[in-house]
Amino acid sequence: MKPATFDYVRAESIEHAVTHLAAAEGDGKILAGGQSLMPVLALRLAQPSILIDINRIPGLASISQAGTGDLRIGALTRHRFLAGQHTHPLLAEAARWIGHAAIRTRGTLGGSLAHADPAAELPVVAAATSAAVLVTGPAGQRRVAAADLFTGTLQTSLADDELIEAVDFPAPTRWGFAEFARRHGDFGLVTVATAEVGGRLQVAIGGVAGTPLRPAATEEILAAGPLSTSRIAAAAAAAAEEIQPAADIHATAGYRRQLTRVLLARALSQAARGQRDAG
């Protein structure tokens, strides 16, 4: 239960981190909050030859307005900070559901997205808001749409020599978030986020596939008219049919469908109430 030996470097800048990551030729790992990586190392599920610690890179936890009006959030931003900020209420709500206080103290936005757990909250919000992830590697920086970042369970399109530097989150005009877990702090059995971005109500569902799922038919129902009680019920029912959830020790497929229906209805109702508050 102790990690295997590894080299360790404390990166002083993103460039410094990328240089070491590239030099490791696929055998290096970025260490940010460590809340997902350290258990992997302790259980020896991976044995990288070098850890590149990015926790001391200045400016990597900053939050600013991107030129597009989106909120640019640095990769090292801790969940605890996201949970306490008021600039992006959907992110704050989602971050409050992440694990426990100790996990939120250290865990980071970039780490959560790079780890890509199918039941994690922040990937679901990234998908629902069509966030753009700023990925930096030896060739420079590229923008990756959230939909293109997550490729499978615990898999992303990040190359071995790339790391997440920041994420641009659009600020939704209306939003909703709902999650169900049996115990407080567990990963959600199903997690739902809805966000109105660019005038369109988008939905992302976590825990029902290897990556956050955007239910296209459900979104078509939502786009077809105002967010009435009946439309909410129709969308929720459609989402339950549109997903192909797995059965596992935590829940049957049918239970996940039921959770999806109930949680999406809750999230959409929350979004509908928000509009009335704002108007």
Binding site: M1, K2, P3, Y8, M38, A42, I103, R106
Partner: protein, 158 residues
């Protein structure tokens, strides 16, 4: 690799392998065995310490990452004269422990909880301490203890 941090107000200097977890450094290099290893993969909470005042799982940090930080472990709760902290007295009084293995993590987590929420409800205590697992007590005595300590701390503060 060299690392400097303070623990319970006392400056410490260590030279450790990078892979040395903070939990192991506290226990084996500093002799502070109050921080317990229940799972060593971040799920049980027995290794919870305060890192610059915020709770953190010491088994999920490398010792070298604590450079320049100020740590509080369970050994830091009692006064210099050995006088137990109100939380410790409450846990004893309210049967909040049996074997005691999870207790350091609960004490640190509860300490932090009460610093942010001086008068938590039983539901709030259960929610905020859900990251700490106890095999013995069934948690009711732990919740009683935190409520009791909260009252006592409020009484002495007010």
């Amino acid at each position: 690799m060299q690392v400097n941090f303070s623990v319970n107000g006392r400056r410490e200097h260590l030279d450790v392998e990078p892979r040395r977890t903070l939990a192991d450094a506290l226990r084996d290099d500093l002799g502070l065995t109050g921080t317990h290893l229940g799972c060593e993969h971040g799920v049980c909470g027995a290794c919870t310490i305060l890192l610059d005042g915020e709770p953190a799982r010491a088994c999920l940090m490398l010792a070298v990452q604590a450079d320049g930080c100020s740590l509080t472990t369970v050994e830091g709760l009692a006064g210099d004269d050995g006088q137990l902290h109100p939380l410790q007295k409450a846990f004893s009084r309210c049967h909040g422990l049996q074997c005691g293995f999870c207790t350091p993590g609960f004490l640190i987590s509860a300490l932090h909880l009460l610093s942010e929420n001086p008068s938590p409800s039983r539901e709030e205590i259960r929610a905020e301490l859900s990251g700490n697992i106890c095999r013995c007590t069934g948690y009711a005595g732990i919740v009683d203890a935190v409520r009791s300590a909260a009252s006592e701390l409020a009484a002495t503060a007010g």
